[in-house]
């Protein structure tokens, strides 16, 4: 655990070193990109689902009102 030395460095005005992650292989980068796209699509689908569900539950007349 290096929490205490980090705090000491911060208090002394030093910035802690950012964590170093291992470099991704091209295949890992491709998989991560596909996962990101899938998550984005799933979130988009959820937005559409909640909108359609709201309209379906309230009925189409909810859109028919005087401005």
């Amino acid at each position: 655990m290096n929490g205490a030395p980090d705090r000491a460095r911060i208090e002394g005005g030093e910035r802690p070193e950012p964590p170093r992650y291992p470099a991704l292989t091209p295949d890992e980068e491709r998989r991560r990109r596909k996962r990101s796209i899938a998550i984005a699509l799933a979130l988009g689908a959820m937005v559409v689902l909640f909108f359609v569900l709201t309209i379906a539950k309230l009925g189409p007349q909810v859109l028919n009102r005087p401005l």
Partner: protein
């Protein structure tokens, strides 16, 4: 009663360490897509045999949530069972034992989908349906996977309730209550489950023994298992005709249920008769394969009768 100690997947040396996340199809595989398809199908039949009406979009979203909830419970099952999946050839290539997805990722994925599917079903349909879906997920992931599967030969008998619940959830979506129609469909799937899985277990007894799962052939022996397969099938065949007696199964269903039930009994007798070698394996796999066809045919007949105006009452 045999007891098998579980080692959490993440701590099992037989499971290789996964690299940085899996591919999208690996996550889809965690949801057991074939089980999801069966759940959609049986829940849909539960909806159409119910005397009620549901807004089509609400019905579609409800079916989607039931499928996602079932997939989530399958994912949690794979997370918990990764250690035994790794030692069985049938399951060794699943994403976790194959090292394509880390166990903690699968756990998070399963939990998020479980909670999400239950909440959306509650908002879309009603909270009875959502409660039943939550119960199904907990029953499959906790009661069956974590407890029954490794401790008792009655694992798939009791655990079969989880697989039998989708028609009940379907009826709850449409009517807001549980009626006799869906309870009969529940009973058919529940009684169908043991002979279906025990037929497979007869062939895969060695693998189950290696994985330490106390399936019926490993604890009570193959002879007792064969007799129980016949007993359950003798119970199943007349039960399959119950929808006719209750008036929601018509003439087409009656013919399918009668012929299918008789064929199931014939297959089970073949299992009882052939006890050695290749003939034993052929009989068991024949029973396993036909049981899938039988259940599919029963539910398809109900769906066709109710959806395409083919219903002709047998009993006035």
């Amino acid at each position: 009663m045999t007891s098998v100690t579980n080692t959490l997947p993440s701590g099992d040396a037989r499971i290789p360490a996964a690299s940085v996340g899996g591919d999208v199809p690996d996550y889809f595989a965690l949801l057991k897509p074939r089980v999801m398809a069966l759940v959609i199908f049986t829940a849909l039949v539960g909806m159409v045999v119910s005397h009620g009406h549901v807004q089509p979009i609400v019905g579609f979203i409800s079916l989607l949530m039931i499928a996602i909830g079932a997939g989530a419970s399958g994912c949690l099952n794979m997370w918990w069972d990764a250690d035994i999946d790794a030692v069985m050839t049938r399951t060794a290539k699943r994403p976790i034992p194959d090292g394509r997805i880390r166990p903690d990722e699968a756990l998070a994925f399963g939990l998020v989908l479980s909670v999400g599917s239950v909440l959306v079903l509650g908002l879309a349909a009603n909270w009875l349906a959502a409660g039943l879906l939550a119960f199904t997920i907990v029953f499959y992931a906790v009661i069956y996977s974590m407890w029954l599967k490794r401790t008792t030969a009655q694992n798939i008998v009791i655990g079969g309730a989880a697989g039998a619940l989708p028609p009940v959830i379907g009826q709850a979506v449409v009517t807001g209550s549980v009626g006799i129609e869906s309870l009969v469909l529940f009973a058919i799937i529940f009684i169908w489950t043991p002979p279906h899985f025990w037929a497979l277990a007869l062939v895969k007894a060695g693998e189950y023994a290696r994985a330490g799962i106390p399936m019926m052939p490993n604890t009570a022996g193959p002879e007792s298992t064969r007799r129980q397969i016949v007993a359950y099938t003798l119970l199943l065949a007349p039960l399959g005709l119950a929808p006719v007696a209750l008036g929601f199964g018509g003439l087409i269903y009656a013919v399918v249920a009668l012929l299918g039930g008789l064929a199931m009994v014939a297959f089970s007798i073949q299992v009882l008769r052939h006890r050695e070698g290749e003939a034993e394996k052929r009989a068991a796999m024949g029973m396993f394969g036909f049981s899938i066809l039988y259940l599919f045919a029963l539910f398809s007949a109900l769906l066709a009768e109710q959806s395409f105006g083919l219903f002709r009452a047998v009993i006035a």
